[in-house]
């Protein structure tokens, strides 16, 4: 049918017929029967690529549309026929020093240690003089800042894989696991642990759920994030055991408080030394435990085994995977069926994903065009659809996704990111449109946040120190009228060290040692896109952009206004007349299209 025509013409033909994206009949909802080869088309291929990865260009979609649905899904899930992924490993900066280990839990803990031992973090206390502990405090803040900055580089590296990998499901699934087996930089404070965990998600995220759970639970990022290291015999800490059951495997209501306490005992002694998993035998409680109706001298791996034997575990995780890839509302019956698929396949993830992506349900009206993009997906898929091969440095990817509520390595709580409508508030909807504007019209006053770091306070202190002020005066907070808040009084106190000065010095050292993120802007050429697609009128341009960039088109009224806008801005509806000067107007109309509320859907 349309398959052999040039892509531009295909799109125009589709657009001229109906803007609405094709999807299957309503009766397909909840039906796990695989779709037939005759049902397969360009729109389904687009839907698949969007959900399995981060969308793509018409050329990429067309390549999938030419396959059978089985071939397309095998290519996405098993990488059959997909090009090899030659992706460079993360280029680490030499910023970590062995003296930093073990890194104490807080600044007071560091200074207490320094007072006791005469040194901390590999830095000795000054024998005499003013602010004897200052170098130790500087080093503490250095590592906090350096790790945070390096984590932002890791995030860029990962986002670049999302936009460029020929195996996008690897990255999409890693993003799922990152939001599932949550840990964040603010608590872990060591990019190396987070990088190791990410690499686990990338390499084993499509493998076996049980193996992955064990590997994550024994990874230093999770051990550190959930305080596993302080869970010891005779006095267990429940945080780790509780979250493993509540959030990672079974869901609340499927175990008792006693089960949590018993599981916590089984995990006692699990710890990390720097980047290594260790079991401290003398801290492990080797006694008998009764857990989920079973009794034995269980250790942590036994507990995970027993959890995996609960039918509810497969239902829970299959349901969560389905909600991530397909839609939020999932009937209990369908969830049970999906759980059965996972159980039958002994927790192998790929067969479950294939069943989902081939199912009629996945292509039903309830599923197509009903999912709200997460911020990371929104940003990456915007870049992908623009045809970019890397993430621009302007706007800053981490600032954008952070402002939109999904900064990588910074999930807000151990529950990860809430999906669906939770991504959107009135404020965030406007910010999403502002992100698009910053891509198409980069701010020429942009300041890189990895150089201008640390917030206003650090810069204020830096400025005053450069002006030759003494440290006490330089670190005073801004003068307020009347009464001062307790926290500000405390922060100014002059002791053997000055916290605000340490924060400034730490930032300065970190900036010196962490490689800057490149700051190129997006290379966009919409005029060429329009020429290549052989578009003749403003209406064709608007329809082409709508179809290329949106899964759910805006209303007829909105479309007409967009066409009228482009007519007015170009001074003609004839593209051949506007050939030489149309870039700015095309960007404006694309910004308007991407500002439609429907742009959030896919």
């Amino acid at each position: 049918m349309l398959r052999n025509l040039p892509i531009g013409l295909v799109l125009v033909a589709v657009a001229a017929g109906a803007l609405a994206q094709a999807n299957g009949p309503a009766s397909w909802q909840n039906d796990l029967t695989p779709i037939g080869a005759k049902d397969w088309n360009y729109d389904f291929a687009e839907h698949l690529l969007q959900r399995v990865g981060f969308g793509g260009t018409p050329e990429e979609i067309q390549a999938l549309a030419k396959l059978t649905p089985q071939q397309a899904v095998a290519r996405m899930v098993r990488f059959e026929g997909a090009p090899a992924a030659n992706l460079a490993p993360f280029d680490e900066d030499a910023i970590h020093d062995p003296g930093l280990e073990p890194f104490p839990p807080s600044r007071p803990a560091v200074t207490d240690l320094a007072k006791q031992k005469g040194e901390a973090l590999g830095i000795k206390v000054k024998p005499t003089g003013n602010r004897r502990l200052q170098p130790v405090v500087d080093e503490f803040f250095y590592w906090l800042r350096a790790s945070a900055l390096e984590t932002n580089r890791v995030a860029y590296w990962w986002a670049n894989r999302m936009v460029d990998s020929p195996r996008p499901l690897q990255e999409k699934m890693a993003l799922f696991w990152h939001g599932h087996f949550v840990s964040n930089e603010a608590k872990v404070r060591d990019y190396r642990k987070l990088l190791a965990q990410l690499e686990l998600f990338q390499t084993q995220g499509l493998g076996n759920f049980k193996d992955l759970t064990v590997a994550v639970a024994q990874g230093p990022a999770m051990l550190s994030f959930l305080d596993a290291g302080v869970n010891v015999k005779g006095a267990s800490n429940e945080n780790f055991a509780r979250e493993i059951m509540e959030l990672f495997t079974m869901g609340v209501g499927n175990y008792t408080e006693k089960d949590i306490r018993e599981a916590a005992r089984a995990f006692t002694g699990w710890n990390f030394e720097d980047l290594k998993f260790v079991v401290n035998k003398d801290q492990h409680d080797d006694g008998e435990k009764t857990f989920l109706g079973r009794t034995g001298r269980f250790d942590g791996v036994n507990v995970i085994d027993i959890i995996m034997q609960q039918p509810v575990t497969a239902d829970f995780i299959a349901g969560k995977i389905y909600r991530y890839f397909v839609r939020q509302d999932l009937s209990p019956e369908l969830q049970k069926k999906l759980g059965a698929v996972l159980r039958e396949n002994k927790y192998e993830i790929k067969p479950l994903l294939e069943a989902i992506f081939l199912s009629r349900d996945f292509y039903s009206p309830a599923s197509v065009g009903t999912r709200i993009y997460s911020p990371v997906e929104l940003a990456v898929s915007t870049y992908k659809k623009l045809g970019l091969k890397s993430i621009p440095g302007v706007p800053d990817f981490n600032s954008v996704t952070g402002a939109l509520g999904q900064q990588l390595f910074a999930p807000p709580t151990v529950a990860g990111w809430a999906q669906g409508q939770a991504w959107i508030t009135p404020g965030l909807l406007l910010e999403r449109a502002n992100f698009v504007r910053d891509v198409l019209f980069p701010d020429i006053g942009f300041l890189p946040p990895d150089r201008y770091t640390g917030g206003g306070e650090v810069r204020r202190v830096a400025q005053r120190v450069r002006e030759g002020m003494d440290i006490s005066t330089a670190t005073q907070d801004e003068t307020k009228d009347g009464e001062r808040a307790e926290s500000n009084k405390n922060a100014d106190r002059d002791e053997e060290f000055n916290t605000r000065y340490g924060s400034f010095r730490g930032s300065q050292l970190a900036i010196e040692r962490v490689t800057p993120i490149p700051r190129e802007t997006a290379q966009v050429n919409l005029s060429r896109t329009v020429r290549d697609a052989k578009l003749k009128t403003t209406a064709e341009v608007v329809d082409y952009f709508i179809h290329r960039f949106m899964s759910v088109p805006p209303s007829t009224d909105a479309r007409q206004k967009l066409v009228a806008f482009l007519d007015r801005d170009l001074g003609t509806s004839d593209i051949s007349v506007a050939q030489t000067y149309m870039e700015q107007s095309l960007r404006l109309v694309l910004h308007l299209i991407m500002s439609q509320p429907e742009y959030q859907l896919g």
Binding site: G405, P412, L429, A485, L588
Partner: protein, 414 residues
């Protein structure tokens, strides 16, 4: 707190064109809008505002109530907490039994000025130890149930069934379940400076109008279009309010989002229900909690105290009450990691000029604990909600909102 956003003449004109058209229509007047305050007043009148405002402040993560208001007069406290128990000399003693954590100078002052009510033993039957489950119970005021809407959202539906715009404001990166409403679309924003659609001059006609659309079957699309309308109704008002707000009051290091609330109140927003939180599970202090917890409390106390002073400054302190809660307290005995695990009953605070300060409810026993070493609750937290609903906001049918009768506290001055 300072904001450096400057407001030019032309952008003010745009603001009137952009944001206020929704207001004109809602106000039903069709008259040219002259000043911000008048438009807001017209809206306020329609929303039947008598001026009373409730601000809910959530301390997320499970605040350790025992180390917030320390029962130094009870030996059992120090027995349970040999390392974490705060000695009398480090607390701010308020009476012969209790004292606030050392950094809570603000709360101490509010208490001594008679503006802070402490409600003891707040909890519910069959407590959940999960942050997310217990928080959902508090958000919906429906423990061990699957209520879909939040209690603040349901309150708005009941008090203002016509759902005038901007009735609920939730400052935060996310919408809280507490404000989820059947009829209202809460105004949710984080940074007021960014609560705006940035646009070029020639884009205005399109971005400042909402397109027509027919029947919509896709629920996600419907949701997005409703949200876009709420954003249009509120963003210009919020931004102007924030740009005009310049307070000399010292909110301390965190400030929370309370200065934003003052800015909106001062600008005459018709909002009656504000929801804010100390975010990101901050109070979840499983390990080495001493310094961290003290700091969190100092920030929270500084912010609430400054908020009340700021309200005095704009002469609205009589109109506002703040209710502070957390999803649970913490285990009574400390753990071996110098922290505390998830617990049950906890304190709530009610702060305001019109509040009769003092202790309310029964102090839970530190010697008769439940099987898991937790406090046994003495006050159903919905009694405090009911007190806000009928006692403060004057909505009489708290019974149907809370699905039950919960005896209120006589906590407000006439």
């Amino acid at each position: 707190m300072k904001n450096h956003f400057s407001f030019s003449k032309s952008s003010r004109r745009d603001l009137l064109r952009a944001g206020m058209c929704g207001v004109c229509v809602s106000a039903g007047a069709g008259l040219p809008v002259r000043v911000f305050g008048q438009a807001a007043a017209a809206l306020a009148a329609q929303g039947n505002v008598d001026g009373k405002i409730l601000v809910v402040l959530e301390l997320s993560g499970g605040n350790d109530g025992l180390n917030t208001l320390v029962p130094y007069g009870d030996d059992a406290y120090y027995k349970h907490r040999p390392n974490l128990g705060i000695p009398k000399k480090e607390i701010r003693v308020i009476d012969e039994h209790f004292g606030f954590s050392g950094g809570m100078a603000g709360f101490e002052r509010l208490y001594k000025d008679g503006k802070l009510a402490i409600v003891h033993g707040c909890g519910y039957e069959n407590p959940s130890f999960s942050h997310f489950t217990s928080m959902a119970y508090w958000h919906t005021a429906a423990p061990n149930s699957g209520e879909e809407y939040g209690w603040v959202g349901r309150l708005a539906d009941a008090m203002a069934p016509q759902a005038p715009p901007n009735y609920i404001v939730n400052v935060g990166a996310r919408q809280s379940l507490a404000v989820r409403s059947r009829k209202h679309v809460p105004v949710v924003f984080d940074d007021p400076n960014k609560f705006t659609q940035e646009k070029f001059y020639e884009e205005r006609p399109i971005l400042e109008s909402l397109p027509e659309h027919g029947q919509i079957d896709n629920p996600a699309r419907r949701f997005l279009l409703d949200t876009a309308k709420s954003a249009k109704d509120a963003s210009a008002l919020v931004r102007e309010a924030w740009s005009k707000y310049h307070s000399p009051i010292d909110y301390g290091i965190a400030g929370l989002d309370l200065p934003k609330v003052v800015a909106l109140i001062d600008a005459g927003m018709p909002t009656r229900l504000y929801y804010t939180s100390y975010r990101n599970n901050a109070f979840d202090t499983h390990v080495f909690q001493g310094d961290v917890h003290k700091r969190l409390l100092t920030y929270a106390s500084d912010a609430v105290f400054a908020f009340m002073r700021d309200l005095e400054r704009i002469k609205r302190a009589d109109d506002v009450v703040v209710m502070v809660f957390s999803e649970f307290g913490r285990r009574v005995p400390e753990n071996v990691n110098l922290g505390t695990d998830h617990g049950t009953a906890n304190l709530m605070f009610v702060v305001g000029n019109k509040v009769k300060g003092g202790h309310y409810g029964q102090v839970p026993s530190l010697t008769k604990l439940d099987a898991g070493d937790n406090l046994i609750y003495t006050t159903d937290f919905r009694r405090v909600y009911g007190t806000m609903i009928s006692g403060w906001l004057g909505y009489r049918d708290a019974h149907s909102l809370l699905n039950g009768d919960f005896q209120t506290f006589d906590v407000f001055r006439a």
